[in-house]
Amino acid sequence: MINEAEIWKFLEDVKDPEIPVISIIDLGIVRSVTINDNAIQVEITPTYSGCPAMDVINMDIRLKLMEHGFRKVQIKQILSPAWTTDWMSEDGKNKLTAYGIAPPNQKQQFCKEEMFQEEAVQCPRCSSFTTELLSQFGSTACKAIYTCKACSETFDYFKCH
């Protein structure tokens, strides 16, 4: 008899298609796993409303569970409470840093609508805090671009959200 813990374990193999070093568990987007008879319901919450990775993630979850023999899979999207980067695991944040992406700061610093405030973002390469915002938007909806004044590295910052 399969239990939910095993399903959670399988989902650790489903990676973020845009940042393949972290899993959807690291990201904190899986809200719940429920098993009814042999049907599995997975609730996930989107990072950003228009994130194109979400459709791919839905399919990858389905494929991964199929690999393990589960054909009846229902994936439900939960919008509220809205996903926050605080749900990202410490392990996930470390993996991001190792990959060259600065992990999100804690949400206390969450960039509200107040203007011209910048976060202190640490360079993933040399750990310096003397970094500068280059662009509020980056290669994906979830990232901004910073540059490090100490080592000159230009890097992605996973925005706190």
Binding site: C51, E113, S135
Partner: protein
């Protein structure tokens, strides 16, 4: 081997068995209005893709468009889901807002039908979001006016909506909206309090767009019924909006113009001459290849 197509087609299961406490027509039209605002502004902003003044801002405005498409999808999916669960009477009451082409498809209503197959008079967006993008000053100024409005409106919907799905979409969207508001406020200030040239352009944008702001605070019938049901006071939203606009204008060295006319009608389906061109481009694929999927 898996049948990949099948997996694709049923992988996006979002809502099920939802009904709105608002009842049929009011809920349906209000949700369409919210969806149309972001779809049309998303389409307008996406015209900058590959044409932004600098690479970073090209990426920024495109990302904002992407957020809007996501918000629009959430609203259209909900509207379609509600419609498919309507009684015959409720279906009849919203019939004139449904796409003609879809009626021949003989299947349930889907998000894309609502987004891409309605005629011009069936769209319920604000005029503000459909007017041409103009120069960068006009684009960021429109962005600021709309984000500011959306920010205070969605805070109200998040807290007060008795319709759980509308509250959830507002909750999800607000984080994105906060970021848009911050970004656009900064641009209005940067250009307003910038060079003579940038100040002139920002001033022109204010003159061009101010006449569309009255419509934000003149509720259509379906909005009135929703605001009443939720206990949302549009006057409070207007006060917050005015205060924020005043604060940003003060820093940007801009003046709120003397009211120079007030153009309305978008929320009732009466649009500017620009709307038809926008739709012709946006709807091309679904019109040329009806019901096509990828």
């Amino acid at each position: 081997m898996f049948k990949k197509q099948k997996i694709m087609s049923d992988s996006i299961k979002v809502f099920s068995n939802l009904s709105s406490p608002l009842g049929g027509q009011g809920a349906f039209l209000y949700i369409l209005h919210l969806a149309d605002n972001v779809l049309i502004l998303g389409q307008r902003n996406s015209e900058w893709t590959g044409h932004g003044p600098v690479l970073e801002q090209d990426i920024a405005i495109t990302n904002i468009s992407l957020d809007y498409l996501g918000q629009a999808r959430n609203f259209y999916q909900y509207a379609a889901e509600l419609y498919n669960g309507f009684s015959d009477d409720e279906k009849q009451s919203v019939d004139k807002w449904l796409p003609r082409l879809w009626k021949d498809y003989n299947r349930g209503l889907e998000e894309d039908d609502l987004a891409f197959l309605r005629d011009e008079h069936q769209y319920l967006n604000l005029l503000l979001v459909e007017v041409p993008k103009g120069d960068w000053a006009k684009t960021v100024f429109r962005q600021f006016l709309f984000s500011c409005f959306q920010y205070y409106l969605f805070q109200n919907l998040q807290k007060k909506s008795s319709d759980q799905q509308i509250a959830a979409i507002a909750d999800k969207s607000l984080k994105e909206i906060s970021y848009h508001l911050k970004w656009s406020s900064e641009w209005v200030i940067r250009l307003g309090d910038g060079t003579d040239e940038s100040h002139r352009r920002m001033n022109d944008a204010v003159t061009d767009l101010w006449k569309y702001t009255g419509e934000l605070f003149q509720p259509a019938l379906y909005e009135e019924s929703v605001f009443q049901a939720f206990g949302v006071a549009i006057q409070e939203i207007q006060e917050s909006w005015n205060k924020k606009v005043d604060d940003v204008f003060a820093e940007a060295l801009l003046k709120v113009p003397e009211q120079t006319g007030n153009l309305t009608g978008g929320k009732a389906g009466r649009h500017t001459e620009h709307m038809g061109y926008l739709l012709a481009e946006m709807q091309y694929l679904q019109r040329a290849y009806p019901n096509s999927k990828w």
